[in-house]
Symmetry: C2
Subunit: 502 residues, 2 copies
């Protein structure tokens, strides 16, 4: 009998209501959003990937980079927080397509949208939105993406993906920076600029730089990858811009316990930011933009305090650096704010806020100041996907109507509390640096080693909970906004069993 | 009475069947693909943009970069080759969302696809395709994108847009180039490489370069924009990689008439390519990849001969340079081949062929040699849009079943012949350098000046034919694959009137 088969015995028991176990985190409350969901994960076979998944994955290996694809999913039989695979296993999904599902699988309002004439028309007559938007485009964005524009930012530019969104914002920042240097939006380019840029040389292709934080992740295209500093495997062998990176505060958790120490760590990071800005300016290569995630996500779920971000904003204003807040992973509600940066209480809004993932649509918000001086400077054929922009409108509607931000805060506190309790009961070094106390369900903790983290994630999956890691040894929780306390109980109960055996 | 109003009188006459005019290009044949299309453009008002469009455009100006958006379209009332705007004008559309509509507006099979459960499921439960593809993914790509894989290329990597596709292929080329330098797919990265790439420095971020042709267009993200050499306004103020560009042959048209001369021009370009490769190698910055469009499209519709491209392929093989053929605009049938580069009769296929636009889906084809050595090197959350990949399957089906490649060749020859005749009758310098004789409906000609080109395009639109320009003074025709001879007659008849008045 294989190890996997032996493991499966305990797997089958995971349906036991958590309330019947020793700690009893919750009552057997019914879920509210998707009453037809399974009440617990259902694992039909003893190992993963299952037989059908293996067959499908093997045949695909001949066609495309199959390293990446080990699961095969049955979306028609997925519902709410539950994801079904080709073998009929039903997972409670707290990874959610890499943090990209907002309101659950097969949400009835999204399905209704898909069947609407409006959706069908735009899906099948795909407009080049920059030149030929549909006649009701104003309504679509006013009742959707612009309804949730971050405070102080009233301009919208739509693009296709998170990397594109970050690069689009960065281009706009470079345009605006050079415009400001010229002294006017109306200033003309010199003939030398127009000529030299065709050779990718200065002054037309300026020596300006963009700055990012170590362990940050901002995408994988050539500009965004130059900003990304998460893992070498993402970057090695790809030519990169010689742009500076600075240390992100590596705080101690729980934050409240180490406040004084963390303040010093944050001060050191801020000092690094300012020194780097000055140092590169001296080199003749000014920093035009700084990009930052409200919580560094792919890189390891690193947090910093609102005070840190307020000081960062002040620094960027002081040195005429545009601030791009990358909310691709943190945006759209999972932190209990619609935008994670709303928790900072900034006096002056950031210059750009980028989005993608749970929004389905991608792009960035900004102000009139950073609107390009001429047409066709930021542009491309599609300028975003109209289908995804329609989906965003529905998702935003549901978040508002169901008051999901409040819900996420509530469930997040519950899940955090459960993990905190668990961290004390399962033994040393199994749940380390638990973090996200004030970040809704955007929670994470470290394992003692990378291997232990991988084992944990794999065993959780075998036990019916689909999870993801980030950084080297971090477990990240990225449930959907419709994740409820009974789901949290299943996560906690399963984690308890898996951790005890680890 | 305004000039525009006066112009409108002749506009209203454009419905006269061309066969009743002097030259009589065609019979009053019925169209085959969309029998319910209007038989001619219908212009309801005397000027463009119409009143409703102006109101909608003005209100949008407060929200987003409105320079770009002058039209407002009514997609529900568009059909086949006809695009209706918010004011009820019905244009014959030979621009087709910047060359991105393949089989016509509101094609019944696409509408049926949109209403299918398969489409609805994948539209509303958007998978992160790299990790969680649907269980029938093998079938979807085998019966779709892979059915039209260019000869010799059997690997597929899907992405979100044309710029992304080019950058993904370029990343894969850099990976493969470094692997070949290391001598094995299994060779490990050195610790120095892994460390230095986190600082964007060599050797981990290599000094390798990618080469492109002057007046080429490959996109607008930071890597693809560094390859783009079409217009300064696309590039100015954006930092760029110091990568080389070489002259694209500037041939004389018609090609057959200037064969000997053009051969010399092409030989000079090829010499430039080889010299540049050697020169940059000497500098220690080897050219890892060369990207080329089969017909330079945005840059001005410049052609080169199959012999040129065969020699180019031989050069890239000789110098170990990966060849990326950018078929974002030329692919999917408009040249009468599914892929324009099929006309070259290459002995060795290109290393990469990229696609987007009319395919709706984007990505690139390649070989096993250039599959990355490890997972997560080329990767992102969505790895393409499943809705667009489903649409590609339908579009490919329709192209095959309706034999649209043959149809495009036939109509293209007819339209080319009509333009050739017209060029002789309308007076000097109005249709110059007519080109695309063997390129299906992928046709273009120059005006005498940029202003004359703009006037022509604007007046064609006022007369009910939606067209586009490219380069400085070029008119490009980019009809859909369902463009028929009666449509060609309307274009020719309208052009004749507009050109005579110009």
């Amino acid at each position: 009998m294989s190890i996997l088969l032996r493991q499966s015995r305990s797997i089958r028991a995971i349906g036991t209501p958590f309330s019947s176990l020793s700690r009893g985190y919750a009552t057997e409350a019914k879920v509210r959003f998707f009453p037809d969901e399974p009440s617990k994960p259902i694992m039909k076979y003893d190992q993963l990937p299952g037989a059908k998944t293996v067959v499908l994955a093997t045949s695909l290996a001949a066609l495309t980079d199959s390293y990446l694809m080990i699961d095969r999913l049955d979306y028609s039989n997925s519902i709410g927080n539950y994801l079904q695979d080709a073998d009929g296993n039903k997972f409670l999904d707290v990874f959610a397509q890499i943090a990209s599902i907002a309101i659950g699988y097969n949400h009835p309002e999204l399905l209704a949208l898909a069947r609407s004439d409006e959706f069908v028309q735009l899906a099948m007559n795909r407009p080049a939105l920059g030149g030929f938007p549909p006649s009701n485009w104003n309504d679509i964005i006013s009742n959707g993406l612009l309804k949730v524009a971050p405070p102080g930012l009233d301009q919208l530019f739509t693009m296709m993906c998170g990397s594109c969104a970050n690069e689009g914002a960065l281009k706009a920042a470079f345009f605006a920076y050079r415009q400001r240097e010229r002294g006017s939006q109306l200033a003309e380019f010199t003939s030398e600029e127009l000529k030299s840029c065709m050779n990718n040389h200065t002054p037309g292709s300026p020596d300006l730089v963009a700055m990012s934080f170590r362990s940050g992740f901002h995408g994988r295209l050539f500009g965004s990858l130059s900003l990304t500093r998460s893992k070498a495997i993402h970057k090695v062998d790809v030519p990169a811009f010689d742009w500076p990176a600075v240390e992100f505060p590596q705080l101690r958790y729980p934050l409240a316990e180490f406040e004084a120490e963390n303040k010093k760590i944050e001060a050191a990071s801020l000092q690094g930011v300012e020194e780097t800005i000055l140092e590169w300016k001296k080199k003749g290569r000014s920093v035009a933009a700084l990009i930052v995630e409200p919580i560094q996500s792919e890189g390891g779920d690193y947090h910093a305090s609102p005070a840190f971000f307020r000081a960062l904003r002040a620094l960027t204003l002081k040195h005429d650096v545009y601030l791009i807040v990358d909310e691709v992973q943190t945006g759209v509600g999972a932190t209990g704010h619609f935008w994670a940066h709303e928790a900072w209480n900034l006096e002056t809004p950031p210059d750009f806020v980028t989005f993608s993932k749970k929004m389905q649509a991608a792009g960035f918000y900004h102000t009139m100041e950073t609107r390009p001086s001429q047409p066709y400077r930021n542009y491309n054929t599609w300028m975003g996907a109209p289908t995804e922009i329609l989906k965003a409108r529905t998702i935003i509607d549901v978040i508002e109507r169901e008051n999901l931000l409040h819900h996420v805060k509530d469930v997040g506190a519950y899940l955090y509390g459960g993990l905190e309790t668990l961290s004390k009961s399962v033994g040393q070094n199994k749940i380390v640096n638990l973090r996200g106390k004030d970040s809704g369900t955007f929670l994470a903790f470290d394992s003692a080693t990378p291997k232990m983290r991988d084992d944990f994630v794999n065993k959780m999956k075998l036990a019916g909970v689909n999870m993801g890691g980030c950084g080297d040894k971090t477990v990240r929780l990225r449930p959907m906004l419709v994740f409820e306390k009974p789901h949290a109980d299943i996560v906690l109960e399963t984690a308890e069993k898996v951790l005890k055996d680890l």
